[in-house]
């Protein structure tokens, strides 16, 4: 991917979010504690929020440029979004949720893509169910599938595993890896969990209180420790 965030400035409740970063990997993590402004970054990329100033470019195409009065509406940005929870439309069946962003009358390639995504995320049995009857893990897989089926240029994931318990996290992670490896869709992955960063991402941006701290490869920034979690290296 080629995602550039220049001169981003967004006043938030307790601090001002300021960013100037580029993402070139396949899966980039935005890592930081809760309330650091991570979700706001995703909202800016998706065009769900407007910054005081920002230049956001994806694959050479300007999505936001406050200097030149450019703002591409969300629906035209081609970004998929998987939030932490509660993403599925409760009044639609799983099937209709999945079809929401997909072409109206799929032919040929898109038809097979549907089957492919459903198979890969193993949600075939769920298609006629209602979102309320699904488990947490099933919901997130459906949300992921739905976003994929809209053929996004970039996938934004906001702590998608945070609401799941540890065993479930371990169970769902392989699906995310599958999406990364088989679909090759660039992803921005927001989390405060270092293990997820290590398992999935090839670059990471560390932020805290709205300011970027470090950016680099996960292996450079994280280190194994006695505790079961990876931790940030000292000095960061």
């Amino acid at each position: 991917m080629k995602l550039r965030l220049h001169n981003v400035r967004l006043p938030l409740a307790h601090f001002v979010l300021e960013l100037d970063a580029e993402f070139t990997g396949q899966v980039a993590a935005i890592f930081g504690p809760s309330g650091a402004g991570k979700t706001s970054i995703l909202d800016l990329i998706a065009g769900l929020r407007r910054a005081q100033s920002a230049q956001i470019e994806l694959d050479g195409r300007a999505l936001t440029d406050t200097g030149h009065d450019v703002f591409v509406p969300t629906r035209q940005r081609g970004v998929g979004y998987v939030p932490q929870e509660g993403a599925l439309f409760p009044h639609l069946s799983v099937l209709h949720n999945l079809q929401y962003g997909a072409p109206r009358h799929p032919v040929g390639e898109s038809k097979s893509q549907f089957g492919h995504v459903v198979e890969m995320l193993e949600i075939g049995e769920l298609v006629n169910r209602r979102p309320q009857s699904l488990s947490g893990g099933e919901k997130q897989r459906v949300a992921l599938a739905r976003a994929l089926l809209s053929s996004p240029r970039l996938l934004l994931l906001d702590e998608p595993l945070a609401a799941l318990d540890q065993p479930l996290k371990l169970k769902i992670m392989p699906y995310l890896q599958r999406v990364r490896d088989e679909f090759r869709v660039p992803m921005i992955y927001v989390t405060h969990n270092a293990n997820e960063v290590m398992a999935l991402c090839d670059e990471v941006l560390v932020i805290d209180q709205g300011k970027q701290i470090r950016q680099g490869a996960p292996g450079d920034l994280f280190t194994a420790s006695d505790e079961p979690q990876f931790v940030l290296k000292n000095g960061l």
Binding site: P73, R75, G80, G86, A87, F89
Partner: protein, 223 residues
């Protein structure tokens, strides 16, 4: 029940239904605006919408009478250009009922919209849906319950409207006499038994409306 009484009940039901249908589009649109947007003068709009709820019904009726009479700013225009009378006709009954029940619909619909998770609408737009599609496929279906509740409330209010109706439409038997106006006249004439009979029809209608709305909710719940 005599033929006359049947006519009165049927007339009242039709007028209330028509008035509810008429206020739905504007009511829903306004409720959405109030729930989702902010603008200078928003509180003025909120106050004006709430007026029929807060003012005595006859006060609202007086305002409508002045506005919609043949010499009124709006009524005069309509009379000149379309040859239509509103005051003292069934149209006046519909207008009075619509105005008095409008705030109830807006209130309920606004709350319904406020309870729709905006995240869902945002997700829908990331999936490529424009404003109209998001509204009709996500926002409205999710708010539907509350809106229907508001519509039923508005309908009940329209059924029982009296104060504004009697000023704007008069109490003309066979033309503008609703159940409540008829009960009023019967009491004035001392025909208490007839009045009580219409009263029980009123109560029956109320039960029907409430029971119908309960049915609606239970079916939605089971779905």
């Amino acid at each position: 029940m005599s033929a006359q009484e049947v006519q009165i009940v049927w007339f009242t039901a039709r007028v209330a239904a028509l008035s509810t249908v008429l206020i739905l589009p504007l009511g829903i649109a306004l409720a959405w605006l109030l729930a989702r947007r902010d603008w200078r003068g928003k509180s003025v709009v909120e106050t004006v919408v709430a007026l029929p709820l807060v003012l005595p019904p006859v006060a609202t009726g007086l305002l409508l009478l002045k506005l919609l009479g043949r010499r009124g700013p709006l009524g005069g225009f309509i009379y000149q250009h379309f040859g239509l009378d509103i005051v003292f006709t069934w149209r006046g009954v519909v207008v009075a009922a619509a105005v008095m029940s409008f705030p109830l619909l807006v209130r309920a619909a606004r709350i319904a919209f406020q309870e729709v998770n905006p995240r869902l609408e945002q997700i829908a737009s990331t999936l490529g849906a424009g404003f109209t599609r998001v509204f009709f496929t996500v926002t409205l279906p999710l708010a539907a319950r509350g809106i229907v509740a508001g519509a039923l409330l508005a309908f009940s209010r329209a059924l029982g409207e009296f104060g504004a109706t009697i000023l704007v439409a008069g109490n003309i038997p066979g033309k503008t006499q609703t159940i409540s106006l008829s009960i009023y006249t019967l009491v004035q004439l001392g025909h208490d038994v007839d009045a009580l009979r219409l009263l029980s029809v009123s109560v029956g209608l109320a039960f029907l409306v409430v029971w119908g709305s309960e049915l609606f909710y239970r079916r939605r719940d089971r779905a």
